[in-house]
Amino acid sequence: MLILTCPNCGIAADETELHADGQAHITRHGAGASDDDLEEYLFMRNNPKGVHFERWRHVYGCGKWFHAARCTMTLEVFGTYPAQTLEPPKDLVAKIKKKRPDWEGFVK
């Protein structure tokens, strides 16, 4: 069972209490964007074997959105952080880098 700590309310919630919503930090292109940009926004996804940044929502709790950094190979959770950011916090990136020296770093 995957357990994530909601940074909004501080509760360690298991996955039945949460809703996963895919890749985080996507650029949301709007009207007037090129076909390439719209395709990238709507369909193209990072699908890494390893470190992944995701959007989650604490649906059966405080109802708020947050972000999580997780390993898709081991299901290890590196940490969670608020959704009001365009990229993961530097200390979290450093922590992941320490645990996974081969990781290429955060790629938008």
Partner: protein, 415 residues
Amino acid sequence: MKRYSAFAIAREAARYHTGWERAWRSPEPKSHYDVIIIGAGGHGLATAYYLGKNYGITNVAVIEKGWLGGGNTGRNTTIIRSNYLQDPSAAIYEKARSLYETMSQDLNYNVMFSPRGVIMLAQTEHEIRGYQRTAHANALQGVKTEWIGPERVKQLVPIIELSGPRYPVLGGLWQSRGGTARHDAVAWGYARACSDMGMDIIQQCEVTGIDKSGGNVTGIQTTKGAIKCNKLGMVVAGNSGHLADMAGFRLPLESVALQALVSEPIKPCMDVVVMANTVHGYMSQSDKGEMVIGGGTDGFNNYTQRGSFHHLEETVRALIETFPMISRLKMLRHWGGIVDVTGDRSPIIGTTPVGNCYINCGWGTGGFKAIPGSGWAMAEVIATGEPQGLAAEFGLNRFQEGRFIDESVAAGVAH
């Protein structure tokens, strides 16, 4: 290759079974092939087989990082059906289903295709309308399905409980020519036939890099050394994104875990496949007597080949309401496979941004039933270099062009 036959069994019985050959060779890789297929699962092996059979291309290697058929080909619930809503889907799945009918004879290998029939239960008013629409679409596509009422469902599946408290069975979409097959045998049969045509199946050989020159693929780097090729086919399901990364392009895919489980074997009690999409469970009985149960996918990216326990609980809970007699069955085995899911729940077959590099992926939760049709279509794309035939509509560019083959409404569940 010595043919399998009743005579061969008698001959071997008379000499203590000393004359059986290995079903396929395990050679070391050559330095160059006309075509390399990455992935020796059902889809990869079928692609190689139809390259040889339909186009006479036999200087082919099939590269596998694990063992043959050890991915999703060995991790599914073996259901075969073609009752899809959209025309391109119905065409390729129906081609696959029809090829399953003659596969044992074609391959001289018993894949135990059992056209026992598949019912998709309607348990809401919306599903009644949806499945009636699918039945009409299938009639136009030349796929034989029919809408049946609850009495007929009960006749076909005596162990079913029609009057469930929350989701009574209101009817179903019945495809009498759907069924199941022995999943491992499909991979083994194709492998034997490919090997017999002179193709090399190289197991325990992981691809570590893809060599390009001037935007075209020239070969691959593997744990058994570099291998050159004229054309490269990637047929690796859940690992497609990882491989595309090596080749330098992106895919509209996310890999998630899909789970299934089987019970202890019991006496024959159900001779059709039943799918209950609203409550999200499906079940059939294997030839050994085990109840084979399929569950749902997790909502998050996962490469671990195991899924979340609560999905199993939900599936089993739903099936106990539908089939009360299974409530005391013990479950024997449980497994997960990594499925690659696209935005419209339809596969991607075709060319890639890299020259001479072709991809077949995105079968999501429904790949097993498609194996022969998928291989047939992929072989045509590789042999001709053009996305045509059954694959024509399934190109990677459909997401940019907005030409979706939307099966997420029609069958947006594990299938």
